[in-house]
């Protein structure tokens, strides 16, 4: 029988390099997978990991794809550190897109400098309002924020669908559920000519810096971490838990809302029934892959974005199925979780020594 026995002192170093280990094992498994599919391994690796970023344009696309993941994941990390489990960043993103997009459509005829800042403000506020609902429910009624924030995501999706089928629909669009295309005054400036890399990528970096300063240089960040690791100690130290919950959710709502606005005013350029391919959910994986650390999240976000681009490139150049992307992402997370288990637990062969008190070891039998 195999048992898992908790380690007295899990290695901190291993905790940091676990994502790298997971990445390496994923690559090795990928080689086996490609070999089994009968694809030349070298060509497949080139198509998946090198080709997408081998040109300036490819790099810019990596930035376009990674920016929303990174900015949401940084905000999620802060909440997760404080034991606030916001699963609904996707919904907050959608609300940001709706509010920002609605402002753009309201000022459709206006060509002025203030349109874009207003849109960004509306996006941030929209995301915050949506995140305020689970915060209120949690602090007032102790309702689990995992459930409420997740369910609000579906409501947000349906709200967007309602709006683009009705009030925000393009009047000249044959009733198709799309808004008008946003004017130049309502679209984010491009920071690299000839690409789609917009200033949203800079806001992502800005949020990374804010997140890092917040977590490692401020009292608030310290309070958040203490609350997550030892709630009782936090209470003893005088940190108000409800304020931390409010802060975590509102900050994440603001970042996700801005990410949503960036998509609508950036690469999409209009409101559609669906404005995000699940960025809010993928960001949860990015947050954990980045060890809930703003700098780690940057790397994790880039790796995750690359896996999407690589999947497309592998389809185009090698006719590999799109499922390869999902398989790679799945393996990466699986190996990371496996590595985490092995860091925190020791694998023990044989029967439990203290048969009378098996629970004392917290051992999970496999």
């Amino acid at each position: 029988m195999i048992r898992l026995q908790p380690r007295a002192e899990p290695s901190k170093l291993m905790g940091y390099i676990a994502p790298l280990i997971a990445l390496v094992i994923t690559l090795l498994s990928g080689m086996v997978l490609f070999a089994l599919l009968g694809v030349p391994v070298g060509a497949a690796f080139y198509a998946f990991f090198i080709e997408p970023v081998s040109s300036l344009y490819g790099l810019s696309e990596l930035g376009v794809k990674a920016a929303p993941l990174i900015m949401i994941a940084v905000a999620l990390s802060i909440g997760y550190r404080a034991n606030v489990w916001n699963i609904g960043a996707e919904g907050q993103l959608i609300l940001g897109g709706i509010c920002g997009g609605a402002v753009a459509l309201y000022f459709y005829e206006v060509d002025a400098w203030y349109v874009l800042p207003l849109m960004m403000l509306a996006g941030v506020i929209g995301g915050m309002l949506w995140a305020a609902i689970p915060a209120l429910l949690r602090t007032q009624f102790n309702a689990n924020e995992i459930l409420t924030s997740l369910m609000l995501t579906y409501i947000a999706g349906l709200l967007l669908s309602l709006l683009v089928h009705g009030p925000l629909r393009d009047p000249d669009g044959f009733n198709f559920p799309e808004s008008r295309l946003l004017h130049d005054a309502a679209t984010l400036p491009i920071i690299m000519q000839g690409t789609r890399l917009h200033i949203g990528a800079l806001t992502a970096l800005f949020i990374v810096v804010i997140g890092w300063v917040l977590l490692s240089r401020t009292m608030l960040g310290f309070a958040l971490k203490v609350n997550g690791q030892a709630p009782n100690a936090g209470r003893y130290a005088g940190f108000t838990q409800n304020r931390l919950i409010w802060f975590s959710l509102l900050f994440c709502g603001a970042c996700a809302g801005l990410a949503g606005l960036n998509e609508v005013a950036g690469p999409i350029g209009q409101l559609l029934p669906s404005i995000s391919p699940g960025y809010g959910f993928t960001a949860i994986i990015v947050a954990f892959l980045g060890r809930l650390h703003p700098v780690g999240v940057v790397f994790a976000g880039l790796v995750m974005a690359l896996s999407y681009l690589g999947g497309e490139s592998a389809q185009i150049s090698l006719n590999l199925p799109v499922a390869v992307t999902g398989v790679f992402q799945g393996m990466l997370l699986f190996f990371l979780l496996a590595a985490d288990v092995l860091i925190n637990y020791r694998v023990v062969w044989g029967r439990a020594r203290t048969a009378r008190r098996p629970s004392s070891e917290h051992g999970a039998s496999l």
Binding site: L37, G38, N175, P267, S274, Q315, G326, Q329, G330
Partner: protein, 367 residues
């Protein structure tokens, strides 16, 4: 993204087999080929959806079968209709594809954006309305097929309740519901259509749930404007009838499928590829129906009586020879007001933006 469906798993195996075969043939063929024409496809679903995307992929294979090593085809599947689409289309264009088919409505703006940047590449966008010198649009008059299905359903229903599973309340789908209902009420004024919207083109779980709900509400015939065989499978399980969608789905529901509309893009795709090869490709707007073969049908199921077959055939022939039009007046809306007068026929401009239900459809159209 992590949850890869059974369909994807199945198609993975198929694709890997095909891949090995393709690699073997490719290595020998590429030596001889002199600069083949490259044709790219962007799909909204997986090629294993057995519906919409599957039929476009059959069209892609028809190009390969027709031109052999004179063409090279590529596809990217399950491309979401947001920010990702532009990147995929641009990548195909910059990789030297000469002709690119973007096969879902949501690719309209990205296709036109990329087309501006690549004036030498030809683009074909399915079901849209924006064109340019290097962007054509094409679609099929599926509503003609819906009129055939509606006739059959009206004659065969016993409960006089037909369940209709809709994807999104866009004109294309509303048009189909109305064409179906008008034809149904002509042969059976008592029958009514109930619609459930699933807000997805491809979601077997939701589609199946919708079918079961409709059957529980008394529907004895199920029809759908979503892409998976799940509703038809639900019909088969519950012992009611249904129609396949986009391709022949009788393998999934041998008793339940009465017939199926088949999207046949093969001829169009081959023709357009030939036009690029011959250098006479021009931007156009194509909206073809039963007449051209773009809208085809599966064999009638074993449970279809002869008189129903005859009536359905008569509608098909009437549409081809012009004696029957699915939107011929008098047509009444849900409030009972006449919207098309006796003898008049709805024009394409109205059909393209259809946003109301006709009499006989239950419930309000979501707006």
């Amino acid at each position: 993204m992590f949850v890869s469906s059974v369909f994807k798993a199945a198609s993975l195996r198929k694709v890997s087999l095909a891949l090995v075969a393709a690699l073997l043939s490719f290595s020998s063929a590429s030596v001889l080929a002199a600069d083949p024409v490259k044709v790219g496809f962007v799909y909204v679903g997986p090629i294993g959806d057995h519906g919409w995307t599957y039929r476009h992929d059959v069209g892609r294979l028809a190009i390969e079968a027709e031109f052999g090593d004179k063409v090279e085809t590529t596809f990217v599947e399950s491309v979401s209709e947001g920010a990702d689409a532009e990147r995929v289309i641009r990548k195909l264009a910059s990789d030297g594809h000469d002709l690119i088919f973007t096969t879902s409505f949501g690719y309209m703006n990205p296709t036109n954006k990329v087309a501006k940047a690549f004036p030498d590449v030809k683009f074909e966008h399915a079901t849209g309305y924006k064109r340019a010198d290097n962007v054509s649009t094409y679609s099929a008059r599926f509503y003609e097929g819906r009129a055939v299905l509606g006739t059959m359903a009206g004659m065969m229903t016993k409960s006089n309740v037909i369940g209709y599973i809709g994807s999104f309340p866009i004109p294309e789908v509303v048009r189909g519901i109305n064409a179906f209902t008008i034809a149904m009420r002509k042969v059976n004024p008592e029958a009514e259509v109930r619609v459930v919207w699933v807000n997805s083109w491809y979601d077997p779980g939701k589609e199946s749930d919708a079918a079961k709900t409709l059957i529980d509400q008394g529907a004895d015939i199920i029809t759908q404007h979503t892409d998976s065989p799940a509703p038809l499978q639900a019909a088969q399980e519950r012992g009611v009838m249904g129609f396949g969608q986009a391709s022949d789905m009788s393998a999934f529901a041998p008793e339940a499928q009465l017939t199926s509309i088949i999207d046949d893009w093969n001829e169009y795709y081959v023709e357009r590829t030939r036009a690029v090869m011959d250098g006479n490709w021009e931007s156009q707007d194509v909206w073809d129906g039963i007449d051209s073969g773009m809208v085809a049908f599966a064999e009638y199921g074993a449970n279809v009586p002869d008189d129903v077959k005859a009536a359905a055939d008569a509608i098909k022939e009437g549409i081809v020879d012009g004696s029957f039009h699915p939107f011929q007046g008098p047509i009444k809306n849900q409030a009972g007001e006449e919207v098309v007068a006796e003898g008049a026929v709805l024009g394409d401009d109205v059909l393209l933006g259809m946003d109301y239900y006709v009499e006989g459809v239950q419930g309000a159209l979501p707006k």
